[in-house]
Subunit: 327 residues, 4 copies
């Protein structure tokens, strides 16, 4: 099949590559001309602007937008909407807020345009491992473009089959699903990332415990000087906590068990935040997912928070406890 | 009545003073001779050691130990146990772990000695406001010494009476209770402090929100530059969040709305920790009380935690996100 | 002064009453004619619709809308906007989301209308205790209407003055403040309620611990049978956790220490939720405020959550642990 | 090698089997004679009591105790200590609290006996997948018995090697480690289980969100009717949240996406609790691990908690909100 791709960053470029490897044809565009040239050399058709990209595609067209969520994606889709024809489809593969998808899909529908939102997991590993995709939008449009998704997905691979499944592998077993109407793809991806935050923080707290068990908070007789790299490694085999995130942790701890190169200041992205907002909206308690997000917020305030100072001020007030700054 | 007091720090000294103001007689001891001399001038009998202190008391004696929980208290009680006679009573007014009270009470009982554990709230304000006391131990011993507790307690005062109470004010309305058997006084005080941590953290988070609403995390159009001192003040009148802790916060924010003198590193003491251990033992979910304790733990790690570095290492692993230290 | 009041529920009716007691004139309207008649008998002018209400007010008019946040308030303000004249002011005293205030204020400004958002705390006690008010909007409009706010506020009263304050009492000491531009009044009220949730949950967890200490989770030798009503009472005097919320708890526990009349299913309102959303937006960790909200969400799912069933399913999967429903 | 095994439950029986498959000789005992007979048929020597078991082993002996942590294990070890000779070793493979290991190891050392604590993960899958083992105790004793651990461990298998590792596979890559002195094996296993709780709860909250997105808390236009079984499946391929726990979840959701057979009441075991106690002792914030434990506590209180009733009582007090039980 043919696919237009706008945005050739780490994700978009590799999506083009993986599609081409599977025999699909891509027409690519990026503001950065060098990125276009590079992919052109690998077999893609290059387009110097969105108009040219659309010219090179046959109707009904499909254009995959792989840009940072927010303004960049919003504007590009608005421009594409002006240029495309009824029956064409826009795919947003970025990390868009799912309510923006819902809004866009209805706006585009008034022009006869289709819209798929594709939550895409796989990061820098996607080119080799394939991308796990959660797709929202009209089912027939999804089915029309399914060969592309199938090519991008990891495929059945050699993962042991889930108990109770039989017959032809389902889409999910290939690594992609049609989640539901517009927005549902990114909604599922959002929850995926919310879980990801929680899993990561669970490991983080565990390793914090292991490391601090050798540290000065404890009397010497109660300390254990534990080898966190060996522990991460041993848990990779036969334990209940085996996971890909643990594999990555093991990689990092072999390189430096103290992780001294890292500042400890941890970023967060939209999905982790939206997950909490969704939980509040749905009245679902998510103490773990929120704690994971808050730990990241806290990690970035390395100078002491105003809230903590309020605590000290109260303690001084009722108990005469002094926690003032040393001069 | 007559009371021996061992430990003339901020709390012990004022307890002696408040008792003397009420006409009771105190015999006091402290390792620091100046503290003894000072109280002697205020009317107390001074004792240069525990033996002398006991000599100056008439049987059945009562000795109030007001020392830091742990070794200091433990050793002093052991020494007193050697010196006292059957029928005498030891009162531990410190912040002892309630299971230590339970153990001690049975050990002392084998010698015919009595033991009361008194959870004492009031801090530096107790001399004037009186001490709120939660008392564990044998009921008849408690009743024998009740005049002392009544003198130390705040008394009925001008606080509006609780709806549904009538007749003679109960002990609780005077500001002290017999909570139950040995250990129960400190248990109740422990939970009191657990709640205190939670209340404090609730205010801390709220004020953090108010202050950061004017800060750089938000686009300018969404900022409010709020006056936290005025807000603390207005909440003192007619709002649902009025409390003594809020009063203290208002005091501090008038002095400096930025609380710039405080480092933001906040200590914790045994009770907050034991409360969590008790919750775990009793299988009671305490997300607020534990979050409050953890916020203090976190406040003291101003260099980034190992756990946070683990998060960054994973993010680098799966997404190529760079959160390494700047050189 | 003169004030129009729309909405004569528990809050609106008492606001009218308190203003009239202070000598102000009110023109009142409610869909419920009986509510209008009742207040008319107490001295208010009644209006059978919004048009009549506006007719009875002299320009520049001020109309206080005291309706449930959301549709009811939104529609009433839209209708008032059609009827009022430039220079008139609308006051929203309900629990409106502060971003709705910001939007409304700019919409109304295009018509020359003013808008104040008044976060109002005091509940059913406001008539007697006065209302604590946090007010957003143009400062000169606020100042024009200040006599009304002063009359509604609790006033300086006999609360001990905050340390470091001197001279004429500030507005905050009377119980109302001008917080800042439109939306800031409700923003501060929102955070107030967020804190309120946290404080309440801190007490709830503490009392849960006290009560369960006598319960079957523990071996008998470790139980204390504690009197929660006496404990709530004693903490009201001289302890660090004294507060109005504790007073209310003491009231309830005198009536029934088991609180057996309550189902344990606890509602939440907008402010608690918006506080978490604001924290997420501002990147402020609020583990206590969010835990308090989540506890209420959880309290309403008395049949077991899907999430908990997922846990059981995993436990069965890896450990053969059986937590299936009994037939 | 030769190994005595006491306790032939799910774990102990399979440990014997896996050792025999690797050519080791086992002498087994259990209170249940049938369990002994069954294993005897599979090649083990049976022993009708501990004395007989010890008789059948050559010095220096090693006896693996695989019983429920607590009394059963404690008493068996005490009896073995009476029967064994200096130089012999006791291995505790259960889920013992690590401070009990530390105590036992020093007690046994006074008799010249050795003690290894083996945290064993693998559950019902261990026979086939092998057991992941974290081992504490004297290093030379560990090394003497290493062939047994190697046989029980999963081995290197076909798991992709951790980046940065080279040369002969380390012990950890075989699936067992010597963690450090007595107690450290169970300490590491305890943290493992703490992490496990956190991971599980992260998935549970995510699936709760997915499921409730189709539910009545939301207005219909905002609902998605998501297929949780398909989502679990798709995440198994190429996503960041792949793990063994996810595999198990996928199994369960295929069987019944509603998990209707489960009550939602979830048990917890010692390790999850001890992990929180350890965090409190080490002053490490563990909001995720504690939230996971508290969620289980909460799941078992299906009738509403006393704390929740306290909330309702306060709400009635300050706002007139009625949450009383319906008759």
């Amino acid at each position: 099949m043919q696919l237009g791709i706008v945005g050739l960053g780490r994700m978009g470029g590799n999506i083009a590559r993986r599609l081409m490897r599977a025999g699909h044809h891509t027409v690519v565009h990026d503001r950065n001309r060098e990125a276009v040239t590079a992919l052109h050399k690998e077999g893609a058709s290059g387009a110097h602007d969105l108009g040219a990209l659309i010219q090179k595609l046959e109707a009904p067209r499909a254009v995959w937008v792989m840009l940072p969520a927010g303004e960049a994606t919003e504007q590009t889709i608005a421009q594409l909407a002006e240029l495309l024809e009824p029956g064409d489809a826009i795919i947003d593969g970025g990390n868009t807020f799912y309510k923006d998808d819902m809004r866009r899909a209805s706006e585009l529908a008034t022009r006869g345009l289709h819209y798929l939102d594709v939550g895409t997991s796989g990061g820098v590993w996607g080119l080799e491992r394939g991308y796990c995709m959660m797709i929202g939008g009209e089912k027939d449009v999804f089915e029309r473009l399914e060969p592309l998704f199938k090519a991008l997905a990891p495929g059945v691979g050699d993962i042991p089959r889930t108990q109770g499944r039989s017959g032809e592998p389902a889409r999910a077993e290939h690594g992609y699903i049609h989640a539901g109407p517009a927005g549902s793809g990114h909604y599922v991806k959002m929850v995926h990332n919310g879980i990801e935050y929680g899993l990561m923080q669970a490991y983080a707290e565990g390793f914090d415990l292991l490391r601090s068990k050798g540290g000065p908070e404890l009397p010497e007789a109660q300390r254990f000087d534990l080898d966190v790299a060996e522990i991460a490694e041993v848990w990779r085999r036969g334990s209940v906590v085996t996971s890909w995130l643990l594999d990555l942790t093991a990689d990092a701890l072999v390189a430096d068990p103290a992780l001294a190169d890292f500042s400890g200041s941890v970023s967060d992205s939209g999905e982790g935040r939206w997950t909490i907002d969704a939980a509040v909206e749905q009245a679902v308690p998510v103490p773990v997912l929120s704690s994971a997000l808050f730990a990241r917020f806290r990690s970035r305030q390395q100078q002491g928070t105003f809230g903590d100072k309020v605590l000290s001020a109260m303690r001084l007030g009722f108990g005469g406890h002094v926690e003032k700054k040393r001069e």
